[in-house]
Symmetry: C2
């Protein structure tokens, strides 16, 4: 349906905006040789994994309604594990950027963003294991699956909301830390704020589609 | 049920935490005579109105299932309008605190927090008018009400999520702006971060209850 298309527009715009923000306005990417630029992989990979791929993995069930059940399951689970890999690299990047900072490292896990972010990633990992154990593992019976489904759906959506709220806080922090004239609204501020709005629009659209 | 009680615990804890944060750690409250302290009403009133009262107004439908329909409607609509009044005062406080700042005013509406916050408040106002026009206004027929209900429910919940995300960004900003040693995790940082977690727990619980 056209709502799925709209979700793709929001999602792709978000990925483009975060890539332009980090790649252009925040001087691009590097790995451990330059912890300041290594940080820039964090927003990019979190938005691709925890927002874009996560959303599309959920939508896969709605888009490919007519294909064989096992194929969709593998696609859904495969996209979610791909999301998890992006997330792992994105977390490695941000922890490196704190721990390798010269002359002094930046402390870890002091913000609400980092707390909710860590909780979100842990829940996401548990959801993956739970989804695998109930819906793919052959020994789980039909009764288990029927019982687990509403919880799997509720938490799948709840964790997506947590990810969006976490991303919005991350955007807020990065703007305050790194855009010196943020309050003068330079172009970069629009890029960052619109990135946040795109994420909110994407997640709202996905949840609207999935709850119809 | 006990989940409604749990929601009250999260909600009251959030209100206590924001009151302690602003009232104790951020030197308490004042009105236009001291714009710096006038700001402190903003988080307090937004959390009371846009999170606590809003949540309980939604739960009213679940708690008073057995009372006369008209009483519950009036309670629900009345709580939502009370929430809107708190929100209006909370917004007045933050705009004053920017515009009356000496020697120079602080610019308005440059953050993602303020953008999503304004969108949230406008949607909340529209939802109130829409809810009133369909469910209380006597001329709206049964067919209209049945058609409108799923949209009223979806947007009621979506706006609550927007409010929670906005509040989390506001907490993040205030911590970075006003807690000089935030990264050293002083007591105040725990108060603020736990406030955010309580809001997330409250909203998750409310949505869980309402979608059962
Ligand atoms: C939903 C996806 C995200 C998750 C789960 C997440 C998670 C985290 C975690 C766990 C940390 C702590 C690292 C440490 O303590 O060393 C962190 C730090 C950080 N993140 Fe994110 N993040 C996400 C998205 C973003 C985005 C989109 C941005 C910015 C555009 C961002 C900006 C930051 C910044 C500036 C820090 C360093 C300050 C701090 O510790 O809060 N994050 N993130
Ligand atoms: C972190 C990982 C996962 C997340 C976040 C997640 C999320 C979701 C969400 C939100 C839905 C609801 C979609 C809808 O109603 O259209 C869903 C459905 C479903 N998921 Fe997952 N999922 C994950 C992993 C898995 C895994 C590993 C499996 C195993 C195959 C799985 C199997 C299913 C099944 C069978 C459905 C039911 C679709 C339906 O008939 O509506 N999920 N998932
Ligand atoms: C969900 C409820 C909330 C809404 C709708 C909201 C809305 C707003 C709006 C519209 C502004 C812009 C004022 C201006 O430009 O002059 C603002 C500013 C601000 N708010 Fe909130 N707010 C909420 C909750 C909070 C909370 C809980 C906190 C902190 C604990 C907070 C902290 C701030 C800060 C620090 C500013 C000034 C910086 C800025 O303009 O973003 N807000 N808020
Ligand atoms: C900003 C204002 C409002 C918000 C955010 C809001 C939100 C909500 C939400 C989330 C629900 C779903 C609750 C549930 O499923 O248990 C709901 C239900 C309802 N609301 Fe509102 N509402 C608002 C204003 C109003 C107004 C002014 C009326 C007029 C009387 C109204 C009438 C109703 C009715 C009839 C239901 C159906 C309850 C049910 O049978 O499940 N709402 N509202
Ligand atoms: O992780 C962080 O990244 C930025 C900056 O150090 C790199 O641009 C910042 O202030 C952090 O706390």
């Amino acid at each position: 349906t056209w709502l799925v298309l709209l979700a793709q527009v929001f999602g792709l715009t978000a990925v483009v905006l975060v890539a332009v923000w980090m790649g252009h306005f925040q001087q691009g990417f590097a790995w451990q040789s330059n912890p300041g630029l290594e940080f820039n992989y964090h927003p990019l990979f979190m938005v691709i994994g925890m927002i874009f791929l996560y959303s599309d993995a959920i939508l896969a069930y709605r888009v490919f309604r007519n294909d064989k059940k096992m194929y969709i399951k593998l696609l859904h689970a495969g996209m979610q594990i791909t999301a998890l890999i992006f997330v792992a690299v994105g977390l490695k990047a941000v922890f490196d950027s704190h721990n390798l900072k010269k002359p002094d490292p930046i402390p870890n896990l002091y913000t609400l963003h980092s707390w909710l972010g860590l909780i979100t990633v842990i829940l996401f990992g548990l959801q993956w294991v739970g989804g695998f154990a109930t819906f793919l593992f052959p020994k789980a019976g039909m009764a288990t699956r029927i019982m687990a489904l509403p919880h799997h759906q509720f938490w799948g959506i709840a964790i997506l909301c947590f990810a969006a709220a976490t991303a919005c806080m991350g955007i807020t922090e990065k703007c305050i830390f790194s855009i010196k004239d943020y309050s003068q609204r330079p172009t970069q501020a629009y890029v960052a704020n619109f990135l946040g709005l795109m994420i909110v629009c994407l997640v709202t659209t996905v949840i609207y589609i999935v709850t119809r």
